[in-house]
């Protein structure tokens, strides 16, 4: 039926197409001769690379390159609802969401010859974070764990005290989720500066106030990385970092999230990446300080705050407005709450109702950090129009954190990101009565909500560990409505992280999340 030549042509064409589909991508783009990635980090130094203690933004990209977790976030994106297998190949939960079984990947090797990763390491790591004596800052996030059972060397069962349908989020690659080597700990290896992980890169060298160097893990279970070495150079001076990027001495830098800097670098031919989730900035109104105990005054301040003006100052690409107590992107966030649109007349009327027709003055300690002071100065100017004078006493950032925890401020500007990204932790820390400043259980409830004035503790109690997912979400929604109604906080904006790189640095993923670039086995430096 067909001519022999036609059949032969079709076969040849098919073979050629198949060969092209399987041709190595690298042939299309030439790799740089030296696969050494140098980063210009916007910090003076690291404090520790112990993943169960590390809280500094400077350490996060290094820690996540050395360590791994049971479940991973999809490439470049921190999304607890989309986790993929990491050190666990698969997992399942009991029907009541109280027992979680993780089936571990076999043959994964610890760095520097500390043997194979097994269930013992998982049990050790989780119990380490949970230990009161150890004092991890992430201990509370695992407070619902009853115990960890080793079923066999490649299977662990995590038993919870209360049902938690979102428990797997906590086992992701961030803070409490990292797995450490029990053998390394038994041999007293210092996790601060000699961390032992299973990740694509191995700790090689630390020079105080200068740099951290990682080298390739040749036996990484996902495949040998293309990049040979990563040098994290500490460069606190922004101008110097930018000059180093322009001269090509570093491949990427952290930058200040300002529109003119982003525009300048983009116009200069560099790739700029803006990532989230990031810090959400909120004004917390301390009801322990008059006249903020009056809800009319709080609503007046909310009406007197112009978010659009703030976003314009920060940069249209760099911030998004927030209105609800639970930021956008967190599981449980809702939009249908009482909002207080910018309205100077309404604000003045509310103040007059509260007997403050001539306005009032308040003195506020404020951090000199460039992500705190400028927006607060903008708000200071906005509130002048409604008759509220804010006197700012500027202090350095660590001092600010101390003063606000001593209940010194009538209002507190605070930028925070919380993981896992659900209502539970966020409300527990900022709005629960037990977290009120001054209490032994204090965290960051600067409002004294639920302590001095009735709060949302009853709703939170019903929502916490509620096995009924939709009901839990509904309750978190009620919390947000009540917080908005009481106007105890003024959510302002979420400001993205900003970073810039040479276009020849191919990350191998699209960086949507995290405070800085991270390198995987797929990352590579292309020839310039």
């Amino acid at each position: 039926m067909f001519k022999r030549s036609t059949v032969l042509s079709a076969v040849c064409a098919t073979l050629v197409v198949a060969a092209l589909q399987h041709a190595p991508v690298a042939h299309a783009q030439k790799l740089a001769t030296e696969q050494v990635v140098r980063f210009g980090m916007a910090f003076n130094d690291i404090g520790t690379l112990d993943p169960h203690v590390s809280v500094g933004s400077s350490e996060t990209p290094i820690v996540m390159t050395i360590f791994q977790s049971l479940v991973d976030f999809p490439g470049g994106e921190m999304n607890g609802d989309k986790v993929v297998p990491g050190l666990a190949e698969r997992w399942e939960a009991s029907a009541d969401k109280k027992v979680w079984n993780f089936h571990l990947r076999r043959g994964v090797q610890w760095h520097k010859g500390f043997g194979e990763f097994t269930a013992e390491d998982v049990k050790f790591s989780i119990e380490r974070v949970m230990s009161k004596e150890f004092g991890s800052p992430f201990r509370k996030s695992l407070q619902n764990i009853e115990r960890v059972d080793i079923v066999n060397p490649y299977r662990v069962g995590i038993v919870l005290k209360q049902p938690d349908p979102t428990f797997v989020h906590l086992m992701g690659g961030y803070q409490a989720g990292y797995i450490m080597s029990k053998k390394a700990a038994d041999k007293n290896t210092d996790p601060k500066l000699n961390p032992i992980g299973t990740g694509p890169f191995v700790m090689s060298e630390y020079k105080a106030r200068e740099s951290v160097t990682l080298v390739r893990n040749d036996t990484f279970w996902r495949g040998k990385p293309i990049v040979e070495r990563i040098v994290y150079q500490f460069m606190p001076e922004a101008s110097t970092r930018e000059l180093a990027l322009k001269s090509g001495e570093v491949s990427a830098i952290g930058i200040q999230a300002k529109q003119e800097i982003v525009d300048r670098l983009r116009n200069g031919g560099f790739a700029v990446d803006l990532t989230a989730p990031a810090n959400t900035f909120v004004l917390y109104l301390n009801v322990n300080k008059k006249p903020l105990d009056d809800v009319r005054v709080r609503r007046a301040l909310a009406h007197g705050t112009d978010r659009a003006n703030l976003i314009a100052f920060l940069g249209k690409d760099l911030a998004k407005a927030e209105y609800s107590a639970l930021p956008v992107g967190y599981t449980g966030h809702i939009d249908n709450i009482t909002k207080y649109p910018y309205d100077v007349a309404r604000a003045k009327a509310l103040l007059a109702e509260a007997g403050l027709s001539k306005g009032f003055t308040m003195t506020v300690n404020m951090s000199n950090s460039n992500i705190y002071l400028p927006p607060m100065q903008i708000i200071q100017e906005q509130w002048k129009k409604i008759g509220v004078t804010v006197v700012l006493k500027v202090v350095d950032h660590p001092t600010y954190h101390r003063l606000i925890r001593q209940d010194e401020n009538p209002l507190v500007l605070y930028g925070a990101f919380r993981f896992p990204m659900t209502g539970q932790l966020y409300f527990d820390q900022f709005y629960a009565g037990a977290a009120s400043i001054g209490k032994p259980t204090a965290i960051t409830n600067f409002i004294h909500y639920g302590d001095i004035i009735p709060g949302i503790d009853d709703l939170l109690a019903k929502a916490t560990y509620n096995p009924n997912g939709p009901e839990q979400l509904r309750l978190w929604g009620e919390v947000q409505k009540k917080v908005a109604q009481d106007a105890v906080s003024i959510p302002l904006y979420t400001q993205y992280y900003a970073m810039a790189r040479l276009k020849s640095l191919d990350l191998g993923h699209v960086q949507k999340s995290f405070s800085f670039y991270y390198i995987t086995e797929k990352s590579r430096l292309l020839a310039r």
Partner: protein, 313 residues
């Protein structure tokens, strides 16, 4: 001379006790908590308490001071509150880099400043004098960190003659000096402006003296008059001032090390202040104070070499 040195050494000891004491108590008056810096804002009360206990911050102030002083007396500067590393080792590692930067800046400041100062004085009220005085004015106006960024932009980014990133380890002497050039120039040129004005004023005063007029009248060559007779007397004033400027140079070194991202005592101190690492801040400030004291002593001793009229009795 010996009794003079002994008296100065005793005053050094007194200052060496006073400075750490002041630094210790001032640091603890600042309302910030290293525990929060290290553990972050989600830290539990227990973990904060555990950190403070480990760092000795929960002890009464006088007990902390006693431990600090006894450590100093043993030559033990303790460990970093943040990283746990030996402070002595950290300071020993970076101090030579700060010293080389300060010396480099001093040499540049002296060579450039004295040269221009002498030239502007000799050719006073000419265009040469005008240019020299503009240079001095610019030097006063330009902060050293701004000059540093400009130098990096021109010589590192545009011309590519020098690196932007200044890692210092494993370098040979040539590479070390190459990396020292721009930071030393940045710091030294600002100092040169001070030295220029000082030298010019002192030179003008000396050139107006009778013995200089006599030297010219006797037919001595101008070069001999300026450099053998006049300049030597000018140097006494200039060296005194440069000794005082040591503090300025060390302060400028802090900024220069930050701009050039160069390891040094200044950068170490800046990082320690940001992290509220009390131990490192105390030790760093004590080192700075010691250096300034030693330099001032050396300056005082150098008077006798320059001016035979000076006796240390």
């Amino acid at each position: 001379m010996f009794s003079f040195i002994l008296r100065r050494m005793l005053s050094l000891v007194l200052i060496a006790i006073a400075v750490p004491t002041i630094v210790f108590f001032v640091m603890r008056m600042v309302p910030a908590d290293p525990a929060y810096v290290v553990l972050g804002d989600q830290a539990t009360a227990e973990s904060l308490a555990a950190f403070r206990q480990k760092a000795g911050l929960d002890q009464p102030l006088l007990v902390q001071y006693g431990e600090f002083v006894s450590g100093l007396a043993r030559g033990d500067l303790g460990k970093s509150m943040i990283t746990g590393q030996s402070i002595s080792a950290q300071i020993a590692d970076v101090f030579p880099d700060t010293l080389s930067l300060a010396l480099g800046a001093l040499v540049i400041g002296a060579l450039v400043g004295i040269s221009i100062g002498v030239i502007t004085a000799v050719w006073r009220n000419t265009w040469i004098d005008f240019v020299g005085r503009v240079f001095a004015l610019l030097g006063f106006s330009f902060p050293s960190f701004y000059l540093g960024v400009l130098l990096l932009l021109i010589f590192s980014v545009w011309l590519g003659w020098f690196p932007v990133v200044h890692t210092m380890r494993g370098d040979g002497w040539g590479e070390y000096l190459h990396k020292l050039a721009l930071p030393a120039l940045s710091l030294g040129l600002v100092q040169a402006a001070y030295v220029t004005r000082l030298t010019r004023s002192a030179m003008l005063e000396v050139l107006g003296q009778d013995y200089v007029r006599t030297a010219f009248a006797k037919g001595l060559a101008p070069r001999k008059v300026y450099f053998k007779h006049a300049l030597r007397n000018v140097l006494i004033t200039v060296i005194t001032a440069m000794g005082v400027y040591t503090g300025t140079i060390l302060g400028g070194a802090i900024l220069t090390e930050t701009v050039f991202n160069r390891p040094g005592l200044g950068k170490l101190l800046i990082g320690a202040i940001a992290q509220r690492d009390y131990n490192l801040i105390q030790s760093g400030l004590i080192m700075f104070a010691l250096v300034i004291m030693v330099v001032n002593l050396l300056v005082d001793l150098s008077y006798g070499l320059l001016d035979p009229r000076i006796k240390y009795s």
